[in-house]
């Protein structure tokens, strides 16, 4: 009976399509949740950097740096990006003492800001490109989630301090061969 096969075909297609819809909805939700999580993480690391900068500023009696750190900590969402940029500029202009633990913390937190921002940007891009898909827009899946925003700041990289060097042995022990991993 050709009629029945037709029905079966439609049912199978409908099943595949609804599975695809479910998978898409899940994917869109996952991408949005991740972008939000990345935003919270980036926020936390920016706070830490500002706090670390404030400590360095207090030690070095640097009024300008302290003010920039304070402004970054207190900035309203709309002013956040420019406040963070100001702080980055201040930080890139100062000389840090490699022996100072506060300076090392500051470098470490800055590195984490760079990473968090990189990941945040990638995840926001993924979420936005998912929102642009025709199917997602037709079904209104994009309206169920808040639109993620890029956090547009200059790359907050600080130059690495020279690492703490462990002096290598000047003369190797004779006859002691290193073991190769392979």
């Amino acid at each position: 009976m050709p009629g029945m096969w037709w029905v079966v075909g439609v049912v199978v297609l409908a099943a595949i399509f609804s599975a695809y819809l479910g998978w898409t909805a899940q994917r869109v939700e996952r991408l949005h949740l991740r972008a939000q999580a990345a935003e919270r993480a980036l926020d936390a690391h920016l706070m830490r950097r500002a706090a670390a900068a404030a400590v360095v500023a207090e030690q070095g009696d640097s009024v300008e740096l302290y003010a920039a750190a304070r402004l970054a900590l207190d900035a309203e969402p709309g002013d956040r990006e420019s406040a963070e940029n100001d702080l980055t500029r201040q930080l890139q202009g100062i000389e840090l003492d490699p022996g100072d633990p506060a300076a090392r913390t500051l470098i470490a937190t800055s590195r984490r800001v760079v990473l968090a921002r990189q990941v945040h940007t990638d995840l926001v891009r993924d979420a936005l490109s998912a929102r642009r898909r025709v199917l997602v827009r037709v079904l209104g899946l994009n309206r169920r989630h808040q639109r993620p925003e890029y956090f547009d700041i200059v790359e907050p990289t600080l130059p690495d301090l020279p690492p703490v060097v462990v002096p290598a042995p000047a003369h190797p022990a004779e006859g002691v061969l290193p073991t190769a991993p392979v």
Binding site: L115, P163, V164, V165, V166, P172, A173, V182
Partner: protein, 384 residues
């Protein structure tokens, strides 16, 4: 932290990616983390105890070369089982955009995924054909690492999205403590070269020209060459009276490579192009050799603009000859270059590279569930 690492290539064959994975895993274990590495290998293969075999690797022509990889339903089941048992805090895959275990692991992963891109492949048929299928996989990757500037660029162009550049590590202690080969470097001075001498981009002919000129003026000067290639082909181009002053080691193991680098006064890297990072330079630096290298961008970066190794104009055999002559005569300068190199290479030492990788892990975990860690467990700059 519980870390699951996936290798796309079998450990039966040595290779850059495999070495990278083993060194990273060992560095992470030394830092107190639990690491499990899933790799294609026979069940009865001899492997380090942190490696879990995922079945026999099948040779498959891929992107112009033959890759020994594992792919298919059976491998998928093994990957899933390994992931379920491992309960990893973070999954770290290498080269995920190829038909490999890494690809399967990303497909099955639920938590944070970090991916490292090694090769600077410029075109991939698999990638072009599978673009719609690759996108959901790429989306599952939380954070990306590129081992070189070139790998990063290619990655950005192909897949969109950025990547953090973390260079290959070098096991500084292994190189610094290796014993020189018996009788080397000797009184008359010794030059070293490691690499495929037949490949034009490695620039061996430049060194050969320079060596032949210098060896005629300096009766004791010797040349140590290691790398794949045919012995006769190497000696064919060298004047017969110099044959007994040139030593050819052939393809060397990691341990012999360290000894070879410790056996020379000046390590020469005359490469004319195609280098994206200059791994061998970091190894020569770790071994404490003075370095003479062509002024490629990659080399200039690794050598800290020429402070950690002397640079000569790319492709200029005369300049190389002059430079080598100066270096051989000036032992304080060599010592100064070597000591500066030792400081620079500390940034490439595995413990410090592993710490930077841990920071990426932490970032990926945070971006997956919003948890933010305290800094204590990724302690920086202790230099141990």
């Amino acid at each position: 932290m519980r870390i699951g690492i996936v290798s796309p290539y079998s450990f039966d064959v040595p290779g850059g990616v495999q070495n990278h994975i083993m060194d990273l895993a060992e560095a992470l274990i030394d830092l107190g983390h639990e690491v499990s590495v899933l790799a294609p290998a026979d069940d009865d293969a001899e492997l380090p105890d942190y490696v879990v075999p995922a079945g026999r690797a099948v040779p498959l022509p891929y992107n112009g070369s033959v890759a020994r990889i594992t792919f298919g339903p059976l491998s998928t089941a093994r990957v899933r089982r390994w992931l379920a048992r491992g309960k990893f805090d973070v999954l770290h895959v290498h080269e995920p955009i190829s038909p490999s275990l890494s690809f399967l692991a990303v497909l099955s992963a639920r938590g944070p995924v970090v991916a490292t891109f090694h090769t600077a492949m410029t075109r991939s048929r698999f990638l072009s054909a599978a673009q719609p299928f690759v996108q959901p996989v790429v989306e599952k990757i939380t954070a990306r690492i590129a081992v070189s500037e070139l790998a990063r660029k290619v990655h950005v162009e192909h897949l969109g999205g950025g990547a953090v550049e973390i260079p290959n590590g070098v096991a500084v202690a292994k190189f610094a403590s290796a014993a020189p080969l018996p009788g080397w470097p000797g009184e008359g001075g010794a030059l070293g070269f490691l690499g495929r001498f037949t490949e034009p981009r490695k620039g061996f002919p430049l060194l050969r020209t320079a060596y032949v000129t210098l060896a005629r003026q300096r009766p004791g000067l010797r040349l140590l060459v290691a790398g794949p290639g045919d012995r006769d082909e190497l000696f064919e181009e060298i004047p017969p009276e110099l044959h007994d002053r040139v030593e050819f080691l052939g393809l060397v193991s990691e341990a012999d490579k360290a000894r070879m680098l410790r056996s020379v006064d000046v390590y020469v890297a005359p490469n004319t192009g195609g280098e994206s990072f200059g791994m061998i330079l970091t190894e020569a630096m770790a071994a404490g050799a003075a370095i003479a290298a062509s002024d490629l961008d990659a080399f200039r970066r690794v050598l800290d603009g020429g402070r950690a190794g002397a640079l000569f104009p790319n492709g200029d055999a005369v300049a190389l000859t002059t430079l080598l002559g100066e270096l051989l005569d000036d032992s304080p300068r060599r010592a100064e270059l070597a000591s500066c190199a030792r400081t620079v290479v500390a940034t490439f030492d595995w413990p410090s590279v592993a710490n930077r990788v841990l920071e990426v892990y932490a970032t990926a975990i945070e971006a997956t569930d919003g948890r933010v860690f305290d800094d204590e467990w990724v302690d920086h700059g202790k230099g141990t």
